[in-house]
C-alpha cells in the first residue's frame, strides 16, 4: 500500500502553526539588532542586558518567590484535599469534586475580578501576598485533581500491609502512601509551578505597583521597552516552562507503582 503523504504534511503544518511565532521570539532574542527586524548576525547581548536590568531582576525574584511559595502551599493543601475527597465519601461527593474542579474551568478574567473585589472588600493592600493567595486558589485545584486520580488507583492493602508489619498510622502514611503518591504530587506541583510562573490575567487584577511579576512587566513594557530584551526574557520564560512541563509529564506519565497488581 502506498504511504499517504497527508499525515506527515498535516503534522508539519500543525507544528509550524504552533511554533513559528515562538521561533520568531528565539530568533529575535539572538538577532544582533536593537529593534528587531532583519537578521544582523548572532549575539548573546540581549540576554546579557536582561540580567543587567534591575527592574527585570526584581520582577524575576518576585515571580519565582510567588511560584515557589504557591507551589509548595498548593502541593500540601491539594494533597490533603485529595485525601479528604477520596476517603470521606458522602452524598455530596460529586459537589465537592465540582467545587475543586471549578477553578480550572472558570474564565480567568472572572477569577481575577472576583479576587480583586474580595481583596478590596477586605481592605487588603494589593501586592505580593494577594498575588500569592490568588495563585494558590487555582494551583491547588490542579494538585488536588492530579493526586486524586492517583488515589483512585491506589491499592490500600499496601497501607494495611504496613500496619500489619508494625507501622503506626502515621508511619504507614510516611513510609508507604506518600512515597508512592509522590510522583503524582510532584507532577501536580510542576503544573502548578508553570501556571503560577506565567499567569497574567489573574495577576493583572491583583498585583500592586510595588510587586510586579514577569508577565506583567512584559506586558507593560511592550509599548515602550526594548523589544529585543523582551524577546530574550520571553525566550527564558519559555524554556523554564517547557522544562517544567516535560518533567511533569514524565512524572505523571509513569505508572504509579502502587497501581500494579499481581496476576
Amino acid at each position: 500500500m502506498k504511504r499517504s503523504w497527508l499525515p506527515p504534511l498535516s503534522l508539519i503544518f500543525c507544528l509550524a502553526f504552533l511554533y513559528l511565532p515562538l521561533a520568531e521570539i528565539f530568533v529575535g532574542s539572538v538577532n544582533n539588532s536593537r529593534f528587531g527586524g532583519p537578521w544582523r548576525g548572532f549575539t548573546w547581548d540581549h540576554y546579557r542586558r536582561v540580567f543587567g536590568d534591575r527592574e527585570i531582576l526584581s520582577c524575576l525574584e518576585n515571580t519565582l518567590a510567588i511560584a515557589v511559595a504557591a507551589t509548595a502551599i498548593s502541593m500540601t493543601l491539594g494533597t490533603l484535599a485529595a485525601f479528604a475527597l477520596h476517603r470521606h465519601r458522602g452524598r455530596l461527593q460529586f459537589l465537592h469534586h465540582a467545587l475543586i474542579y471549578t477553578p480550572l474551568v472558570v474564565p480567568e478574567i472572572l477569577m481575577g475580578m472576583s479576587l480583586l473585589l474580595f481583596f478590596a472588600s477586605l481592605g487588603a493592600e494589593l501586592g505580593f501576598w494577594t498575588i500569592l493567595a490568588g495563585h494558590i486558589t487555582f494551583c491547588l485545584s490542579y494538585v488536588a485533581m492530579t493526586v486524586l486520580s492517583r488515589l483512585q488507583d491506589f491499592d490500600f492493602t499496601l497501607v494495611d500491609a504496613a500496619r500489619d508489619l508494625g507501622a503506626g498510622n502515621w508511619q504507614a502514611i510516611r513510609k508507604i502512601l506518600l512515597p508512592l503518591l509522590m510522583p503524582g504530587i510532584l507532577a501536580g506541583g510542576l503544573l502548578a509551578f508553570t501556571l503560577s510562573l506565567d499567569d497574567f490575567v489573574v495577576t493583572f487584577f491583583i498585583s500592586g505597583p510595588a510587586s510586579k511579576t514577569l508577565p506583567i512587566y512584559i506586558f507593560s513594557s511592550i509599548k515602550h521597552g526594548s523589544p529585543t530584551k523582551l524577546n530574550a526574557l520571553s525566550a527564558l520564560l519559555l524554556i523554564v516552562t517547557f522544562l517544567a512541563v516535560v518533567l511533569g509529564r514524565r512524572l505523571g506519565g509513569r505508572r504509579s507503582a502502587g497501581e500494579s497488581r499481581p496476576g
Binding site: D164, K175, S260
Partner: protein
C-alpha cells in the same frame, strides 16, 4: 494436645444489614495449620481481617496466647498477614520489603541484614534480594510476602487465599513449599481458602464455613469421611444425595426406603425412628461398580442395579454416571490393571452398584439457598483444578 494459642469467642460482624460473621467460636492450637474453608462470602476473610485487626468485630473477643487483642490496632498484634494480592511495596526492592517490619521496629542494621538473610534463605530468594518487586514472578512475590510476614516472628501467620493468584502447577508447588516452611518455622498458620483441595492437603484442622457460621470443625479426614451437614458433604469432594424414609430400625442399623431402590441398609447414627425422613450422602468412591451381580450373602452390603449413562476417563480413575430410578449416581473406579484384564464398562451397560452400610451418611437436607453456593455436580465434567482427581485417598473407618 490441647494447647490453645488463638481463640475466637463468639465473634460476630455485619456489614450494613449483611451478617458476615455469625457467633463464631474457634480454638486454634499452637503450631497447627488451621484452615477456614468455605465459598466466597462465607465470612472467612472477614474473620481473618478481624484477627489481623483491620476490622473491629461487632461482638466477641479474640484471645491470643492468653491476651485479649480485640481492641488493639494491627501494629500491636503479634500476628502477620500474607495478603491475597501479596501487597508488596512497589517502591522497595525484595530485600527492603522483607526488612520493613524490622526497620519499623528500629532494629540495628546488622540484625536486619542477618534476619533478612535468614528469610531469603528460607524462601530460596537469595539471588533476587536486589530486584524490584515488579521484576519478579508471581511465585517469587508469594515467597517475598511470606518472608516479609515471618520476619517479625509472629505467633500466628495469617494467610488470605495465598495461592489464588497463581496458576495450577505453581499452586501445587507452593503448597508443598508452604508446608515445608511451616515445618521449619513451627509457627501457627491460619489459612483462608475456598479451595478444598488446598485445605485438605495442608491443614491439620479445617473449619468449614457457610453464611458466617462454622458448619464443622475437624481434621481433613473427619470432614471428608464424616460430614456433619449436607453442605459440608457437598462442598468437600463429590457426593451423591438421596432422600428416603426409615422403614425399620434395629439396633445400630436401619432399613431405608428410597424410591427406585430395594431397601437400603444404613448405619443409624442419628437414631432415627421408623417413619422418619432421612437425607443420605454416599461418596462416589465408596461405590463398587460391577459387571456381574455381587456374590450373595455379604454382610451389611447394599446392591442396586443401574444403567451407565456417562463415562469420563480421568487417567488414574474413571468416573461413571449411573442411572438408578430417578437418581443419577456418580461412581469412581480406580484403575489398577486397566489395559490388561479389566473389561471396560461402556455407555449403556447394565451394572451393579455395591456399598457397605457404614459408608452412607445421614444428614439434614441443605437449604435451597445453599445450593447455588455449592454448584452441585450434575454432569461428569468438572474434574477441575484443586480437587483431588479421582478417588480421594481411602481411609480406614
Amino acid at each position: 494436645m490441647t494447647d490453645t494459642l488463638l481463640r475466637f469467642a463468639g465473634v460476630s460482624h455485619s456489614f450494613g444489614s449483611v451478617l458476615a460473621v455469625d457467633e463464631v467460636s474457634l480454638a486454634i492450637r499452637r503450631g497447627e495449620v488451621f484452615s477456614l474453608l468455605g465459598p466466597s462470602g462465607c465470612g472467612k476473610t472477614t474473620l481473618l481481617r478481624i484477627c489481623a485487626g483491620f476490622q473491629r468485630p461487632d461482638r466477641g473477643r479474640i484471645i491470643l496466647d492468653g491476651a485479649d487483642l480485640t481492641d488493639l490496632p494491627p501494629e500491636k498484634r503479634q500476628v502477620n498477614t500474607v495478603f491475597q494480592n501479596y501487597a508488596l511495596f512497589p517502591h522497595l526492592n525484595v530485600f527492603d520489603n522483607i526488612a520493613f517490619g524490622l526497620r519499623i521496629a528500629r532494629r540495628p542494621e546488622a540484625e536486619v541484614r542477618r534476619e533478612v538473610g535468614r528469610m531469603l534463605e528460607l524462601t530460596d530468594m537469595g539471588e533476587h534480594a536486589g530486584k524490584r518487586v515488579e521484576a519478579i514472578s508471581g511465585g517469587q512475590k508469594q515467597r517475598v510476602a511470606i518472608a516479609r510476614a515471618l520476619i517479625n516472628r509472629p505467633l500466628v501467620l495469617l494467610l488470605d487465599e495465598p495461592l489464588a493468584a497463581l496458576d495450577l502447577k505453581l499452586r501445587q508447588r507452593m503448597l508443598v513449599e508452604l508446608d515445608s516452611i511451616h515445618d521449619e518455622v513451627g509457627i501457627t498458620f491460619l489459612y483462608v481458602t475456598h479451595d478444598q483441595g488446598e485445605a485438605m492437603s495442608i491443614s491439620d484442622t479445617i473449619a468449614v464455613m457457610n453464611r458466617g457460621r462454622v458448619e464443622q470443625i475437624g481434621s481433613p479426614a473427619e470432614i471428608y469421611e464424616a460430614p456433619q451437614s449436607s453442605f459440608v458433604a457437598a462442598f468437600i469432594g463429590d457426593t451423591n444425595f438421596f432422600d428416603g424414609a426409615v422403614r425399620e430400625a434395629d439396633g445400630d442399623y436401619c432399613r431405608v426406603a428410597i424410591e427406585g431402590f430395594a431397601d437400603v441398609l444404613l448405619f443409624n447414627d442419628k437414631k432415627v425412628r421408623p417413619g422418619g425422613a432421612v437425607h443420605l450422602s454416599l461418596r462416589p468412591e465408596k461405590l463398587l461398580i460391577l459387571q456381574e451381580p455381587p456374590p450373595a450373602g455379604e454382610e451389611r452390603r447394599n446392591t442396586v442395579r443401574g444403567i451407565v449413562e456417562e463415562v469420563v476417563y480421568l487417567g488414574a480413575a474413571t468416573k461413571y454416571w449411573v442411572r438408578v430410578g430417578e437418581y443419577r449416581l456418580a461412581v469412581y473406579r480406580q484403575h489398577r490393571r486397566f489395559l490388561l484384564d479389566e473389561k471396560p464398562i461402556k455407555w449403556g451397560d447394565s451394572v451393579w452398584l455395591n456399598w457397605h452400610a457404614d459408608d452412607g451418611y445421614m444428614l439434614e437436607r441443605y437449604s435451597e439457598a445453599d445450593e447455588e453456593l455449592l454448584s452441585l455436580p450434575d454432569t461428569g465434567f468438572e474434574a477441575e483444578a484443586g480437587s483431588p482427581p479421582g478417588p480421594a485417598p481411602e481411609e480406614g473407618k
